[in-house]
Amino acid sequence: MIIAERKPMPEILGMLQGARKVLILGCRGCVAICSAGGDKEVGVISAALRLGFKKAGQEVEIHEETFVRQCDPEYLEPLKDKGKEYDAVLSTACGVGVNFIADRCPGVKVFPALDTSFYGANLSSGEWKEMCAGCGACVLHLTGGLCPVARCAKSLSNGPCGGSVGGRCEIDPDVQCVWHMIYEKLQEQDRVAQMEEIMPVRDWRSAGHGGPRRRVREDLLP
């Protein structure tokens, strides 16, 4: 899922300066699962904004709503008109939702409440870790299911750098060297010889270096 984190309150209050009527718009997609932008977090941000505005002596009307998702056009439909009633719509969706509102809802002033961080997994309650970089050219079949693009600090394609010590990355001893993990995983599966195959130079265009990406599936188009 997409992992995000609430921006610091002074930053949020700063972007809402001058607004007299604000809608905090939550999303029940990924950001709700990672406890950054669902119904509960909308409530917390709302209470914090009320307190922040009160402390600053500003009277601001705050409304709360949460959509099923903010990345599908049908869910944004009601916002096209309703959003115009507000001086600011503070979206607690990931950056996709904020962009989509900006694209689809002309006249609606949308602001981000979150910093969108990465694609990750839930390790335990309250802890998430990056697992995928969305690079568009998956090599997990060669690496025992472990991603060297997302999980190697240098995104190396052909084995570890010289910096790892005892299976730990040189950037941080708390970070495991993914190439060490890949070696152990392939060894466990009797596939270690696969590491001798040299991965060709990556074409990073699929990773967004060739401009914004788009996917079309003809059979599903209207």
Binding site: P8, M9, P10, K40, G43, V44, S46, A47, A48, R50, L51, G52, K54, K55
Partner: protein, 135 residues
């Protein structure tokens, strides 16, 4: 006891059996202190804590069961973690996190609640005194 600022205490139902009014009548807690009884402090959400400040409370504390004696196993433990997060929000808003505390109390014991109300009152007095000195 005169009230310096409004204090809200979120109290676990199993912790405080004495009503706030009785404590006030006995002069044990500041006037205007409000006790909001909860079935369990584990039910308390961060927006309720921050919302109490937004609604006019100047100091808030949460009284839950002793960590290892929580009637609902882990309610007060959860509340303590939420209080910690709420303190972070207060800090972000440049409000002293010392105006929010969590205490763990034996079942039916009102003493620690009274003590914490007095501590909060003192903190508010100190805050106001430092404001006056600054001006």
């Amino acid at each position: 006891m005169a009230a310096m600022g409004r204090i809200v205490a979120f109290c676990c139902n199993y912790v405080t059996s004495v009503p706030a009014e009785a404590l006030q009548e006995a002069g044990l807690v500041p006037e205007g202190m409000e006790i909001r009884r909860l079935p369990c402090t584990g039910k308390l959400e961060i927006d309720q804590i921050i919302g109490a400040f937004a609604d006019g409370a100047e100091a808030v504390f949460v009284a839950g069961c002793k960590i290892d004696k929580c009637h609902n196993a882990s309610g007060s433990h959860r509340a303590a973690k939420r209080v910690k997060y709420a303190k972070k929000i207060l800090e972000e808003l440049s409000i002293s996190p010392d105006l929010l505390e969590m205490i763990f109390v034996e079942r039916g014991e009102a003493g620690p609640v009274v003590e914490m109300a007095q501590v909060m009152q003192e903190r508010l007095e100190a805050r106001d005194a430092s404001k006056e000195t600054a001006t």
